[in-house]
């Protein structure tokens, strides 16, 4: 098999549709050809990513909305009086759906309160204690979701240097992208404060995670922080910059200039 044949057989190979001889030929070429072997690996990785992409769920309200329209359509075409059997049964269906939703929501609220309650009380106590002084060490031991909760609580307390330092640290160093994004958002909300803006700006050069860099660019552009212009230009010219980040940077630059 040659490289051009690989292209023709690749999909079949991945779908397990080659006969045993074709498979043998395919695999032996792959073994001896770096290009094709890389290509195959990339195809597999891509396939993997796609299968991980989570689908969105349609909501109950959306579905109920359709059933109501369906019934209207049905009435129109069959010309039956409105209060007929099927409309009543549709009402029953709608009622039970609403009951189900109500019950589920209620159940979730209860569950949430009970489950998170103990953690919340602990956090609330801690936040109260630390309200005047935020210590980074207090947050070090927590899980990402606890940190996110903590950030949301701390956000509403007075801005002070220690608070900003904490956010700064989390923004640039935390392992969890979601925590970093949360810290970025907290700083964005505090962007009336000059120091918060400084932190966001500095982080742009330091932060290695593309998705965080993009969010930073978003935030800084939104608050019209013009000091971002030069860093943006640098990012665009730097070959090592992630392609997505470059795109965003270019976009923002156009808005700002």
């Amino acid at each position: 098999m040659k490289c051009s044949d690989i292209n023709n057989h690749l999909l079949d190979y991945l779908d397990n549709n080659l006969n045993s001889q074709e498979r043998i030929d395919f695999e032996s070429h792959i073994k001896n050809c770096d290009n094709c072997s890389t290509k195959l690996m990339q195809f597999k990785e891509l396939h993997n990513e796609i299968s991980k992409a989570a689908p969105i769920e349609s909501s109950e309200f959306f579905k109920t909305g359709f059933f109501i329209k369906l019934n209207k359509e049905k009435n129109r075409s069959t010309r039956k009086p409105i209060m007929d059997f099927s409309f009543k049964s549709l009402l029953k269906v709608a009622a039970s759906i609403l009951l189900f939703i109500g019950g589920t929501v209620f159940g979730l609220i209860i569950q949430n309160k009970v489950g998170v309650n103990s953690k919340l009380t602990l956090l609330e106590q801690e936040v109260f204690k630390l309200k005047q002084q935020v210590h980074l060490t207090a947050l070090e031991e927590k899980t990402p979701s606890e940190k996110i909760l903590a950030i949301e609580y701390l956000n509403s307390s007075e801005t002070n240097q220690e608070l900003l330092n904490t956010f700064n640290f989390l923004l640039n160093n935390d392992e969890s992208i979601n925590v970093r994004l949360e810290a970025a958002q907290a700083l964005y909300k505090l962007s009336d404060n000059q120091k918060a803006r400084d932190i966001l700006l500095k982080s742009l050069n330091v932060n290695q995670k593309p998705i965080v860099q993009i969010k930073l660019i978003n935030y800084l552009t939104e608050i019209e922080e013009r000091r971002i212009i030069e860093p943006l230009k640098d990012l665009i010219q730097n070959d090592n910059t992630n392609r997505m980040v470059k795109d965003y940077a270019q976009n923002s630059l156009q808005t700002l200039i």
């Binding site: 999909l11 359709f66 359509e73 995670k209 998705i211 969010k215």
Partner: protein, 174 residues
């Protein structure tokens, strides 16, 4: 009702049993919603379009042809609806919009999702659509070929080229 084929149920609807349409809806609404959302990036539009598809199938139920697979029919209708919608409205989800949709929903693997959708968005509409139908929506080559009124071999070829292009963009080797 689960053991009854889509085609059987649609025939029922065609012959006047409109209630059966709700079964069709139950089976397909989620995947059609995802088809629209993955193509357009706009949730609200996708919800409207999804409902329109089922109402349209209902309206034109007489034209349902048992010789064609139901799946190909519903996706064909969806596709047409999407194209019409695109013509009348500037839909393109700018790549700069994608990040807002993603990171707000706190998906665990946001980084890779972002990279994937970003790359998808850089493809031509044809290629993007083929990948959505075959890889995201899981349609078989035969079903897609039916939608496009072409041969299975031809569509397979095109899908390969689309994936190859996506691969190049995704791995930034272009």
């Amino acid at each position: 009702m689960n053991h009854l084929s889509d085609e059987y149920i649609m025939e029922k609807v065609k012959s006047g049993n409109i209630d059966y349409m709700s079964e069709i809806f139950n089976r397909y609404n989620n995947q059609i919603l995802n088809y629209f959302f993955r193509s357009s990036g706009n949730l609200e539009d996708s919800q409207d379009l999804t409902q329109s598809v089922f109402l349209r199938l209902l309206k034109y139920r007489k034209s349902f042809n048992q010789s064609k697979s139901f799946k190909s029919w519903i996706y064909g209708v969806s596709r047409n609806m999407l194209n019409t919608h695109y013509q009348s409205k500037k839909v393109v989800t700018e790549n700069t919009e994608i990040i807002n949709n993603l990171s707000d929903s706190n998906i665990g693997d946001s980084e890779n999702d972002l990279r994937l959708y970003y790359s998808m968005n850089l493809l031509s509409d044809d290629y993007k659509e083929l990948i959505i139908l075959s890889k995201f929506q899981g349609l078989k080559y035969k079903e897609i070929a039916e939608i496009y009124s072409t041969t299975e071999a031809a569509i397979k070829n095109k899908i390969f080229r689309a994936l190859d292009k996506l691969r190049k963009i995704y791995f930034e080797t272009e």
